[in-house]
């Protein structure tokens, strides 16, 4: 049994950092981020395995290659830097046998990173330990769904981030079969030449050229490795970024993003962006990508990463038209205007459009769905959403249904709860019949507590997610889609928007409040909550009381160990009615106390895609 084995990932452009964080390991590093999945697996167990990753993103990329880490009695995982929003790397163990052998474990904070030392009474698979530590760091188990993928070729690193269930194979096969099943459903092979034969006829193979190679056919989005939405995402987006526009430049052996003379971020030649890099770019108002690049794919990859993180990207016409970006992202990039970045609201609108397009086209989940579908595999449908819409005012039914009807990009059904009136009443019946939505009506007497009615509605819902909406608030057409997206990248059990925009009906004024968004928190706007069915059932639904059922659900989710994520508030306008028409805990003054911007009349931002009342000008709080 040899003494120590060391593997590292992500230090390609930061070699000095590796020595700094692992000063106790002098041996030869096995560089895992260029590893060939087909190389012989380590046979012999070692005394100690050190696995160093620069960032959680690198660790995610490392997970599929866990089989390349030898069994070891001591496993040391070093994360050089973690973004401020990441959780602590407390392992979330499955039923793996390894943890039964645990003798000692230490988790140490090292500057901006972590060091985890685990000692076992016998050698355990290092890759498994790695995956379980990563689960903790990103808030629980998260998995790429079907299909089961085989990876081959040196460039396959980064194609299947965070998935321990891959099968590693050599470039020329064969795929090792699993117990009573083929080794995988689909092989992704990264090779220089496309004419290499693939021996295994039963398993479809998808060929990809290395990123730096010049593509011989027309480019399209699926050629790019996916953006790992679990780590490269809008979490931590800063609404009031003050920095200047940063610039992407070439440097010897890669790229860097600079702001004036400061180098903010150093990127490897393959252009992958990590969570730590994104956190460093949060102060820049945008990034200008004007560098002409011979192999457009690397530039496209950097742009997709930046856009997915919600960083406004400034490009010229040539770059925007790059087919590798996909039509949706190209359209979003075309709307970016440098002058508009000066306005916080306009900048955030741009950012939301970019992240939507990038995550929907280039996220790991949609990318693999696409690849699988083009390879002829049948996949289960995307999870549907059930909208719980409860109202006690029959005149609001048409308005509320209209708000839901304009939702796009999701499969949704509406559970309409009628509190104190019947669906057969005039106006209601017509509105339900006119709607193209799938509507299930639940009726309840006026005396039934609100929480109980919501529980009854949830009982007839069939979706994997339950979304609560109010009958009198305004929702942008991407409200549900953005919530689902936020759920996907945050992994939180409950996501919601911030009630940033409030229309104060008694004084005919719209205000925007400053609430921290794109972060984990314990409060979201009640009428924007989207909760997983699983968590909803864990906490037992809403409390059967009349008021504050939303706040109570948030408390139960937190108590059950769930996480709550608050996404941006640009899709939602809260209607603060006359106090005589509604019971309000907060008087109008409370909303005026800390507003950031104010508009006369009812004002919608551009993402709401509704017409504001026509009043020119708005007012911004003095700095």
């Amino acid at each position: 049994m040899s003494a120590t084995w060391g593997g590292c990932a992500g230090f390609g452009s930061h070699p000095a950092l590796l020595d700094r964080v692992c000063d106790d390991f002098a041996g030869q590093w096995t560089v895992l981020d260029g590893a060939d999945p087909g190389q012989p697996l380590p046979g012999e167990a070692v005394e100690r395995a050190v696995i160093a990753a620069r960032t959680p993103a690198d660790l995610r990329r490392l997970v599929p290659f866990g089989a390349l880490v030898p069994d070891a009695a001591q496993v040391c995982v070093v994360i050089a830097e973690a973004p401020p929003w990441a959780a602590q790397p407390l392992p979330v163990a499955g039923q793996s046998a390894a943890w039964h052998l645990l003798a000692d474990m230490r988790i140490l904070r090292r500057r901006r990173g972590w060091r985890i030392e685990a000692t076992f009474s016998a050698p355990v698979p290092g890759g498994e330990i790695l995956a379980h530590i990563l689960y903790g760091l990103l808030g629980g188990r998260r998995h790429l769904a079907q299909p089961v993928v085989g990876l081959a070729g040196e460039g396959a690193f980064g194609w299947r981030p965070g998935d321990p269930n891959v099968t590693l194979t050599g470039v020329d096969g064969p795929v090792v079969a699993r117990r009573d099943a083929p080794g995988c459903d689909l092989v992704l092979r990264v090779v220089d030449r496309t004419d290499r034969p693939w021996p295994d006829g039963r398993i479809p193979v998808v060929e990809r050229a290395p990123l730096t190679a010049v593509p011989d056919g027309p480019a399209y989005p699926d050629l790019l490795p996916p953006v790992d939405e679990t780590v490269v995402n809008p979490i931590g987006f800063r609404q009031n970024a003050r920095g200047p526009v940063a610039t992407l430049t070439r440097r010897a052996g890669g790229y860097s993003i600079t702001s004036g003379l400061d180098e903010l971020v150093r990127l490897s030649p393959s252009g992958e962006l990590t969570d730590v890099d994104v956190a460093r770019l949060r102060d820049a108002v945008g990034v200008a990508v004007r560098e002409p690049d011979p192999s457009g794919l690397v530039r496209a990859r950097i742009v997709t990463g930046l856009a997915a993180a919600g960083i406004p990207v400034l490009m010229d016409g040539d770059g925007i038209g790059d087919p590798a970006l996909g039509a949706e992202l190209s359209d979003a990039l075309a709307t970016v205007d440098e002058d508009q970045l000066a306005s916080e609201l306009r900048r955030e609108e741009i950012s939301v459009r970019l992240r939507r397009a990038a995550l929907r086209t280039h996220g790991a989940i949609p990318r693999w769905r696409n690849i699988a579908v083009s390879a002829g595999l049948a996949l289960p449908h995307e999870p549907p959403v059930s909208v719980l819409l409860c109202t006690c005012r029959k005149d609001m039914v048409p308005f509320a249904l209209e708000q839901m009807e304009r939702q796009r990009g999701v499969r949704a059904e509406v559970i309409l709860g009628l509190h104190g009136f019947s669906a057969r009443e005039a106006g209601v019946q017509g509105a339900i019949a006119d709607s193209s939505l799938r509507i299930t009506v639940v009726e309840a007497a006026a005396g039934v507590p609100f929480g109980e009615l919501l529980n009854r509605m949830a009982a007839v819902a069939s979706g994997s997610f339950l979304a609560r909406v109010d009958d009198d608030d305004w929702y942008g057409p991407d409200h549900l889609a953005d919530l689902l997206l936020a759920q996907r990248y945050s992994g939180a059990e409950l996501v919601g928007a911030a009630a940033e925009f409030v229309y104060l009906e008694p004084i005919n004024t719209t205000v925007r409040r400053r609430l921290g968004t794109e972060r984990f928190t314990s409060l979201v706007a009640g009428a924007t909550m989207l909760v997983t069915r699983e968590m909803f059932e864990t906490v037992g639904g809403f409390r059967p009381i009349g008021t504050t059922v939303d706040g109570q659900l948030l408390e139960s989710v937190e108590a059950a160990g769930g996480r709550i994520y608050r996404t941006h508030g640009l899709n939602y306008v809260l209607r603060r009615r006359h106090s005589r028409a509604h019971t309000w805990r907060h008087p109008v003054q409370a909303f005026l106390k800390s507003y950031q911007e104010q508009w006369r009349g009812l004002h919608f931002n551009h993402l709401m895609e509704s017409a504001s009342t026509p009043h020119v000008g708005y007012w911004r709080q003095e700095p």
């Binding site: 106090s579 109008v588 003054q589 000008g617």
Partner: protein, 556 residues
């Protein structure tokens, strides 16, 4: 003002939204103008002025001239060279002064626009046209001409020479541009992008020597104040601003002014003269109102308190709070059914109108308080009105801060939400200039506040932030308490100053120590190298001839 077409809505003083004026000579006018020339009767420049007016490019059928002869002895007749339609009028018997002359001229004027021209001004041929093209764009503009003052000796120039020059397009050559001096207002034009960014203060550069305005606007503002012997144009500018006017300088409306004006020649004396007059009438000149504890003719803020349905205690708390404001020139108007309070026999303590009577008894005699049945639409010429519901008390600094905030952000209406019951209880600061302009441009049936939002701005805030609180929570700070606070702060600042000094001393001392030690260590190193290391190395290295020692010696 009635107008067949929709009036453009100019925010604050930003006339740029009008999109510029047509080029001179390339448009068709339809409004008529009366040029009013008040003259002191000294008489040697008036013929030149009239000669220059005779050669204006503005159509003759739309232009008439009224010369108001304000001299001690009436002028016998008008000079030969003059516009066709020129009239000579005299002020009323026993009345004198430029403001009166202007009023008389304006009363005689039949044109849509009144154009003031002093009798020592020689306008360029396109002067009136340049003014008039603005008045065709909007009906609430005050246009200011571009004057250059030149030295001038009587008899230097004759009326026929001026006419000839005007007809030849050579008025610019009558004097040397480089010998002329600009008006004091020109600096202000330059600084504010031709007054576009001047906001509510634009009126301060209103100079009446060559200015024009719609006759209706002049009448609505109440004409010239005849009690002012000098500075009447500034005061008129102030009232025009309160009536909603926008001030537009036009650099193409050129004119020569012959000989310096009084303001230029005896500047200090003029300032001393105007100070008492303008301080009383122009509340926006805050520097003229530094004295606390006295009243002024035009208050800065008119506070309005409605006594209907309120108790004596509530009204008293509010009114006393307003009167105690650190902004001294505040007047209070209490509205209520005062005229309905009869003097019929009644039981004093069981009177249904008891509180109203008590309120009246309390404030009847206060010079700063008026009791009124109805609220006039506008508090013109007072620049601000503050509506405060009874029972709510603004802090002593609240009015000053609110007005300063409204000025800084060119707000027309600043509403404060105080409380919410069935409806929102609100206080409200209104800018007279904004409301007047909104009334000028509003379409029938339009919500006035919506229009105010377009011409100035409207904003909602919360009263608490501005120190407007319930009567129970209100506190006034006595001078003694302020003095005590001040003493406390002074003492604290001394302590802090002391501490800072000590730290500074320590820091310099530490620096000195560090420097001493560094120098000492350098000395020791040098000594060791020279006296110890080198001889030792020589002795050791030489016998065994170490290669690096030899190399080292070679380098040394």
């Amino acid at each position: 003002m009635t107008s067949p077409t929709r009036q453009p809505r100019i925010p604050a003083n930003d006339h740029g939204v009008l999109g510029g004026v047509p080029e001179l000579g390339e448009w068709t006018p339809h409004l008529s103008v009366s040029v009013v020339v008040p003259t002191g009767g000294a008489g040697d420049t008036l013929p030149l002025t009239l000669a220059a007016l005779a050669a204006q490019t503005y159509p003759r059928h739309l232009l008439d001239v009224i010369v108001v002869d304000d001299g001690e002895r009436p002028t016998a007749r008008l000079p030969e060279i003059r516009p066709e339609r020129t009239r000579l009028v005299r002020p009323e018997a026993g009345r004198w002064g430029k403001p009166h002359a202007c009023n008389v001229g304006a009363a005689a004027a039949e044109g849509d626009v009144i154009h003031w021209l002093d009798d020592d001004v020689v306008p360029f041929p396109e002067h009136v046209e340049a003014h008039m093209r603005w008045h065709h764009l909007a009906r609430y503009l005050v246009v200011l001409g571009h004057l250059r003052t030149v030295e001038w000796e009587p008899g230097e120039l004759s009326a026929s020479e001026v006419l000839a020059a005007a007809e030849a397009g050579a008025v610019a050559k009558l004097f040397h541009e480089e010998d002329s001096s600009p008006q004091w207002t020109e600096k202000r034009w330059n600084r504010t992008d031709d007054l576009r960014t001047a906001g509510a203060d634009a009126f301060a550069v209103h100079v009446g020597a060559a200015a024009s305005l719609p006759a209706e606007l002049f009448r609505a503002a109440g004409g010239m104040d005849e009690s002012l012997p000098l500075g009447e144009d500034t005061e008129l500018g102030y009232r025009l601003a309160q009536a909603g006017a926008v001030f537009v300088p036009d650099r193409a409306a050129r004119a020569w002014r012959l000989g310096g004006s009084a303001v230029m020649r005896r500047e200090q004396e003029v300032k001393r003269h105007n100070r008492p007059y303008l301080g009383e009438r122009v509340p926006s000149f805050r520097w003229l109102r530094a004295t606390p504890g006295r009243g002024y003719r035009v208050p800065y803020v008119e506070a309005v308190v409605d006594a209907r349905g309120a108790s004596l205690e509530e009204v008293r708390a509010t009114v006393d709070g307003l009167l105690a404001s650190w902004t001294p020139d505040v007047s209070v108007r209490i509205t209520g059914p005062w005229s309905g309070l009869g003097e019929a026999r009644r039981a004093p303590l069981d009177d249904p109108d008891l509180d109203l009577r008590l309120i009246r008894a309390l404030y009847e005699a206060d010079a700063r308080v008026t009791l009124a049945d109805d609220l006039p639409e506008s508090c013109f010429p007072t620049p601000f009105r503050f509506h405060c519901p009874a029972g709510w008390v603004p802090g002593q600094d609240a009015l000053g801060r609110l007005v300063a905030f409204a000025d800084r952000n060119t707000l027309g209406v600043l509403s404060l939400a105080l409380d919410e019951g069935d409806d929102v209880v609100r206080a409200r600061l209104e800018r007279t200039a904004a409301l007047s302009r909104a009334r000028l441009v509003a379409e029938p049936g339009e919500d006035l506040d919506d229009v105010v939002h377009e011409v100035y701005g409207t904003l909602w805030d919360v009263g608490e932030k501005w120190g407007v609180v319930r009567a129970e929570a209100a506190t006034t700070i006595s001078p003694q308490r302020l003095q005590a606070e001040l003493e406390k702060c002074r003492a604290r600042s001394l302590v802090l100053q002391d501490r800072a000094n000590r730290w500074r001393r320590q820091a310099t001392r530490g620096q000195a120590t560090r420097r001493r030690w560094r120098n000492a260590s350098r000395r020791v190193t040098r000594f060791l190298a020279r006296r110890v290391a080198r001889p030792v190395m020589r002795r050791v290295a030489r016998p065994v001839a170490l290669p690096w020692a030899a190399a080292g010696r070679g380098r040394a």
